[in-house]
Amino acid sequence: MSSIQFLDFTCDIISPMKEGPPVKSADEELVSLARSGDHKAFEELVERHKQKAYRIAFDFARDREEAKDLSQEAFLRAYTHLGNFDGRSGFYTWFYRILVNVCLDYKRRKQRTSAEEFNEAIEHQVEPSHVSQKPPSPDQQVLAVQLSRKVSAALEALPPKQRTAFILRNNQGLSIKEIAAMMQTAEGTVKVHLHRAVTALRQSLADFA
């Protein structure tokens, strides 16, 4: 079964979760330098994790500028709370936990303000990667917008834990074990969240199957 290959878009530099101890220890070295006041060390951490962080934020926000703001906000929170990092988990696990929380907070705020505004943003969003390859036909464009709206609505309708488990597994290709560490919960619980999320999404997106 190779169904998850298309999901794994991380490259070597930005995928510390798949590289294991060498990167982790280098991360921690940079963390200790940053804690002692070397902010260049933290900039190096940003460079290492920015693309992965951006991707996760993008999966939550589904908007380029907002994903940038959210991931940067997560880096800033990590920087100002470096003192709270106890080293029990890897830096990336700790940081991505902050990131997911920032993204969930954003979704909560967004839901409170206006769901309509969010749909508008998706509708008018420019996607250069698509445009540059081959221009879609008007029918395809309409379908893409409908799909995008439907997916956004379906994802937003998921409870935060289900959405988190789903995005991290489906979009980011993190393992159940990594997600459990990040969400500070049992692997069995993550499996239940993932299964429920998939069931809900199947029902919402059945028309596009």
């Binding site: 079964m1 169904s3 998850i4 298309f6 999901l7 902010h39 933290f42 900039e43 940003v46 460079e47 920015k50 693309q51 951006y54 991707r55 993008f58 999966d59 589904r62 380029r64 994903a67 940038k68 940067q72 880096f75 800033l76 920087y79 100002t80 996607e127 250069p128 990667s129 698509h130 799909l147 995008s148 997916v151 379906a154 994802l155 789903f166 597994r169 489906n170 979009n171 393992s175 159940i176 499996k191 239940v192 993932l194 299964h195 998939v198 069931t199 999404l201 199947r202 029902q203 997106l205 059945a206 596009f208 199957a209």
Partner: protein
């Protein structure tokens, strides 16, 4: 075996969660073998899996920002970090008060200030309680107005004294 629904395929209940995990490659060897064995004989579960393969990729929205975006990202991030760093150093100077030694030191300083104030500021505080000159004058004024009365009283006292002196010898003063 489960029935295939037009809208969505329905998997066999005992295999539903495992099919999701199978799709994501999250099953152990034994569970995977069990699911693959079941898929050989169950069309509904095969349809369910096929549906997962067609639906779930749709939820991934592709986005490949150009290099300029990343350059801008890094530049913006550096600026925000410098600002955060400046804010942090300001807070750190305030955070000195949260150090363990700061509380007893502050308490000692406060006691010392209180002691000094009570010792050397005594005159200052008491002077405020002393009546002002005009208040003193108001209290003395009635006495001054009746000075004549008091003087008369003094004359009477003197006369009494003279009288008493005259009685024993019956002679003139």
């Amino acid at each position: 075996m489960a029935q295939h629904n037009k809208a969505t395929a329905i998997a066999c209940k005992p295999f539903e969660e495992d099919l999701v995990l199978y799709y994501y490659g999250e099953l152990g060897r034994n569970e995977r073998a069990a699911v693959e064995g079941h898929l050989l004989v169950c069309q509904s579960c095969r349809l369910y899996l096929k549906e997962l393969e067609s639906i779930l990729p749709l939820t991934v929205k592709p986005d490949e920002p150009p290099q300029a975006f990343w350059d801008d990202y890094s530049r913006e991030m550096r600026r925000k970090l410098v600002e955060a760093s400046e804010r942090r150093s300001w807070w750190q100077s305030l955070a000195l008060f949260s150090r363990p030694w700061a509380i007893p030191a502050s308490a000692t300083a406060l006691v010392a200030v209180l002691a000094l104030t009570l010792t050397f500021g005594k005159g200052f505080w008491t002077s405020k309680e002393v009546p002002r000159d005009d208040e003193t004058f108001i209290e003395i004024l009635p006495m001054a107005e009746n000075l004549e009365f008091f003087e008369n009283m003094e004359v009477l006292d003197t006369m009494d004294l003279l009288e008493n002196m005259r009685i024993p010898g019956k002679g003139s003063v």
